[in-house]
Symmetry: C2
């Protein structure tokens, strides 16, 4: 059960001019479910992407990155679930390229204008022939209003489709942003999500587009964790079709740049947090905010030490204010000169720790009250500087073990 | 249920001349269980210790380290369970010192000659008066044959007492080593165990004694992980009473040094692996060996990435040869120039991965056969150099969540 997360209403997802989506049931792993998505882009669209840093990155990641670097106009993105085409060596690369070839043939574009994405089980050969057989149905289904079915088609262990939409004004012109994401396990920074596709009709040049993407990734998918595992397949793609009619954003000092950057980061943040809310087995949604650090980097280290600790996460599952486990995580986060006597720890508004130990005014029932909530903020005040960072995570429950023990059965 | 681990027979634990142990039921957290241990040392014993590097280290760790650094002869170690005296600030330090004062008063030694240790719940005040009230019973109980009851007295979530014994010849003289350990969660390198006390009657000077300890720690407690959490209280103490009658080992180039070093490492390794076998919720015991790395450090990074992955650990729990999860963990271990095409992965004798993907000869039923075993070796061959490292871990089961969600109830 996802934590305070429901499927978006189809009507809430605005079409993005120049971007059409089509899905199909290709039977890649299981029958009778949508498992293939094609995103077709009109000519003139620009695409930026960030990918997993896992050294064992999947074949489609290698191919998508190579095609992006070719610098040709991207005309299609193709996504299959059920099979990650990872840990598949040379034959996996051939399968990813064959998928692109088939999309290119059907759409009348070049193979290097197609970006492939896969998610699902690792180390199984991708059944390319099933992907190819499903593509005509995707093409027949292509339309701008298909964002919700697209979100459904990329789900694996997700229990809720993840999609969101925004409209903002750029220099008086309304532009639209709509995105979908999937991922519920193997969630970790660099990259955190498994897959996310955000499209806007804004006109923006390639260089500032990449800056918008980098900023959004840092404050969304690279700030969440479910289980500390970094996937082999993660990708976050940002598409700008350029059809909104706004004056093109050509550089980061353009007055519209900040508006678009913040809108994309806000949208990506919502999708990233949706992934945590739908974290495998999650029953609690937890924000960990670390303040007054020397650097954002050290704040993130402390926040992730807390967010990764299985002991902390099981205590949240149990609604047990076993705050010593949070202190222990702070203590091993790797800040060598941390002065624990200056640190303060809060659960929402309740100060729990000060002076190196339990706050004199802290009462167990206050901690217990916060821990029973489905949404909790852990706030650590380091009293060392002015930097801050927030990461989002969930608890560790029996269902996490069940889901991951039985994933392939 | 611990994995292939049973309580040692009392008769298998050899007394160590010059070292006496006494336990008591002090009612520190729960009634009717041994929760207080006193280890009394004859004059002339030498003690070396390594402690947690957690910045939030507990009050007894700070006091024990300070007392060791004073350089006076240690005459007693006092250990309570039920309460870790961690995250307790100044009052925690006073409580740890008061414990030492009381031991010193009763034994007629200096307070700085006493080392305190605590394990149990964090952030609760230590009930010093109960510790003090229990000490006379410990003293009345002091004898050299009490190693097994001592092992029982330091258990927390442990299901099996952990103790082991060895005898080796140093220059023709038989010396004895006996040790006890506890810990089942919060197991992680630097320091991995929660508490371990090893005593020998060998005569050895302070400097080589510390070298023996450092070597043993590296190859035992710093090479295991259950859940990646580093405790606030971990300590590994090595006592040498000097009463065996061997020619004193005065330096590392002494011919007897290597014999004693290897015997202590072997004993500590057995105790460390016992902690993993009794890991919270463990159903499988897993050795992760990484070979042909550039350095021992990079081999350890890869091994710990595998051993820490919740996805890998739940797959072991499910006996599911979902080997892609192991590849993914290798991929994010942090070796930037890893060539995945050269890497080989084995499950016991079964080669699973070669050439960047599934080994052509691999059959799922072979992987399945190994995964069903209660003891499994994961072997990664990096083909980059000549270094190697082994770490030991266990699977992640439903019971881990249950134990840690309900620890305080």
């Amino acid at each position: 059960m996802a934590v305070n997360l429901t499927a978006p209403l189809a009507g809430s997802l605005h079409p993005v001019a120049g971007v059409r989506l089509g899905t199909a049931q290709a039977g890649i792993r299981k029958a009778n479910r949508r498992d293939l998505l094609l995103i077709a882009l009109d000519e003139g669209a620009r695409v930026a992407g960030v990918f997993t840093r896992n050294r064992f990155c999947a074949a489609p990641v290698l191919v998508a990155r190579a095609h992006l670097e070719e610098g040709e106009q991207v005309r299609a993105l193709v996504v299959n679930t059920g099979n990650a085409n990872a840990g598949t060596g040379e034959s996996g690369l051939r399968a990813a390229r064959a998928t692109c070839d088939e999309v290119a043939r059907l759409l009348g574009v070049q193979s290097t204008q197609v970006l492939p994405f896969s998610t699902g089980v690792i180390m199984e050969p991708l059944p390319v022939e099933r992907v190819a057989a499903g593509l005509p149905a995707c093409i027949a289904d292509l339309r701008a209003g298909n964002w919700l079915t697209a979100a459904e088609a990329i789900m694996t262990t997700d229990t809720v489709p993840k999609a969101a939409s925004r409209r903002v004004l750029l220099g008086g012109t309304e532009v639209t942003l709509t995105g979908i994401a999937k991922g519920a396990g193997m969630i970790h920074p660099d990259m955190a999500t498994m897959l996310c596709f955000v499209a806007t009709d804004a006109a923006i040049a390639a260089v500032p587009l990449r800056a918008v993407l980098a900023h959004a990734a840092e404050h969304s998918f690279n700030s969440i964790t479910v289980d500390g595992d970094t996937s082999t397949n993660d990708a976050f793609m940002l598409i700008a079709s350029g059809q909104a009619g706004n004056r093109e954003i050509v550089a980061e000092d353009d007055s519209d740049f900040g508006v678009l950057r913040d809108a994309v980061a806000d949208l990506a943040g919502e999708l990233a947090r949706a992934i945590v809310r739908d974290g495998e087995g999650a029953t609690k949604f937890i924000a960990v905010r670390v303040e007054q650090g020397v650097s954002r980097e050290e704040c993130r280290k402390v926040a992730f030490a807390i967010a990764h600790s299985p002991l902390v996460k099981t205590a949240f599952f149990a609604s047990d204010p076993n705050l010593g486990r949070i202190l222990a995580a702070i203590g091993y986060a790797g800040i060598d000169d941390l002065d624990v006597a200056r640190l303060q720890l809060f659960l929402d508004d309740v100060r729990v720790v000060s002076g190196g130990g339990r706050d004199p005014a802290y009462r167990e029932e206050d901690g217990q009250r916060v821990m029973r909530q489905s949404e909790i903020t852990v706030r650590v005040v380091l009293d060392r500087g002015t930097a801050a960072a927030t990461v989002w995570t969930c608890d560790l429950s029996h269902d996490y073990v069940t889901i991951n023990a039985e994933y392939r059965t």
